[in-house]
């Protein structure tokens, strides 16, 4: 499968990307530009999920380009000390994305681009959605709708609820609890996560995120939201964002869809979740971007 590394510049930084080109390209030629998830993963994505998806896209006639922002992965540069988790300044986002889109379109001979990002990459993709008129769609995985600290992340301490209910019926475990032999730190953490989860359900969606989403739809760009059903941000999406999107839908036609991957967490680390994610994305692309006919390249 044709893959080649490409280096390009943005400002004073050299950035590294991998271009995937299909063996049999569809007509018209289109591409998916990947935004890396952030400080904990480079352009390959967590557990190589970006690599697998890019190769699946290439098998389906799409071009794909994965690259690292300055200071991430193999690209030049350092992250500033003030770097907020997985979020670049508007100036950097705009400049880097413009360079990436120009490079991608030139190298792959395409005129239409769909942005793709997971978590922090989804935020960056959304923030950059308006930089180039060739961007006609966004696929946002696990889009964070508020700051991570405001979300009630499930914790290992919540694991064995059934086990603890079973123990609650046995005197020996009460004896341990009352005679200072239990792990009280564990209970404290579990209760905290429970409370925080409840509070998170009432948290507001970040106004900047909501604004960018609405502007994206008003520009006529297509949106696909993908969430794992265990992702706390999905709950926030249902409660905080979906009503806003529904109101917008009433005033002018907008194109967005939300697909839920069962038994999947925020970063889709489970192998089955990744397979399902690829299926959903390819199906959405096929529906929204029908190919006229596949054409053999070269």
């Amino acid at each position: 499968m044709p893959e080649r590394p490409i280096t390009f510049t943005s400002g004073s930084h050299h950035l590294v990307g991998i271009l995937h080109e299909p063996i049999a390209a569809a007509t018209p030629r289109r591409g998916v530009l990947f935004f890396s998830p952030g400080v904990q993963a480079a352009k390959a994505g967590p557990a190589r999920s970006y690599v697998r998806l890019a190769r699946s896209l290439a098998s389906s006639g799409w071009c794909a380009f994965r690259f690292d922002f300055p200071g991430l992965g193999e690209s030049e540069g350092e992250l500033p000390p003030s770097f907020q988790v997985d979020e670049f300044s508007p100036e950097v986002t705009r400049a880097v994305t413009t360079a990436a889109v120009q490079t991608f379109c030139r190298e792959a001979h395409i005129d239409e681009v769909v942005f793709y990002g997971l978590c922090g990459g989804a935020r960056t993709a959304l923030n950059a959605a308006g930089v180039d008129g060739r961007v006609t769609g966004l696929v946002l995985l696990g889009l964070p709708l508020m700051r991570s600290g405001e979300v009630g992340w499930p914790a290992p301490e919540k694991l064995d609820v059934r086990g603890y209910l079973r123990k609650a019926r046995q005197w020996v475990y009460w004896k341990r609890f009352l005679t200072l032999q239990s792990d009280y730190q564990f209970f404290r953490k579990a209760l905290w996560h429970l409370v925080r989860g409840r509070l998170a359900e009432r948290s507001r969606v970040d106004s900047g995120v909501a604004h960018n989403l609405l502007e994206t739809l008003k520009r006529g760009q297509r949106l696909l939201f993908l969430y794992g059903d265990r992702d706390p941000f999905y709950k926030a999406f249902q409660v905080g964002l979906q009503p806003q999107l529904s109101r917008l839908n009433g005033s002018a036609p907008v194109d967005y869809a939300c697909r839920i991957i069962p038994a999947a967490s925020h970063a889709f680390p489970q192998a089955a979740a990744q397979e399902r994610l690829i299926e959903e994305m390819l199906a959405w692309l096929a529906a929204r971007y029908p190919a006229q006919s596949p054409v053999r390249v070269g």
Binding site: H14, Q40, R48, G73, E76, L159, D160, Q270, A271
Partner: protein, 286 residues
Amino acid sequence: MNAWREQPLFFDHAGARLYGMFYPAQRSITPRRGLVICPAIGAEADLSSAVMVQFARCAAAAGLEVFRFDYRGCGESEGAFEDATLEEWLDDVHGAVRYFQHHAAVDTVGMLGLRLGGTVALLAASRTPAVEWVCLWEPVLVPHVFVDELLQQQFLAHNLWTDRPLKDRRELLILNGRGVELLGYCWRKETVEALTRLDVLSALHSVGVPSLIVHLGSGRSKRCRALREALQERGIPSELLEVDTEIFWQKSSRPDLDLLKLRRQDALVHHTLRWITSQARLPSHA
């Protein structure tokens, strides 16, 4: 703009296209000395990649020709992770060394490996005459314990995210399919079994090469000390270095951990380069 000479590339080895990144030395030194970096494998590779890139750049600045690469089925290389075997990864190291020697025209080659990459580097170095020294960052010296730790982490994650909790982590080994899913990576069952059976010291072929064994984290490491003693008993010069640092190849549950600081390991890089400088007889590393 500064001249940026880092070069991403693909090279062919044993039927696979492997990915590599070449970092030319920033000082011209004769003879030309090279370093091949063997990354961690699986989920540990994702989280540690920033440190490996940092080290590659610092080593190039110190005068080494440096080559980072991805094993088949890993990172940017071709292939599926679930198809790869331990023997293939060992062979990929040979392939990377051969390609690097030819591409960079280096006169000597050393290796550095992190975690299971350290184990692979140690085994490969003992079979590759071209390799003259090796650095091991927290190498996996008891692979069956490494597998067990991964199983435990996966067991916790599995029970957290599904409605069908397991009672014991070993049930993961007998779930459907030819692979064992460990933190997002599907390990081939034969590879897991091979790791479980692997006795690192017995697997070392012939005489080894001078080694720097680096224990990372707090406290002392009996296993790293045992490896040093075993190598010394075989007449192989080896040193042990203990660097107190946060574990940067695994996810931490500590909410106060600064992820940005975790991506830079200045003390580790400095001490390792100091050893390499003396080993490779480079002009002093500042």
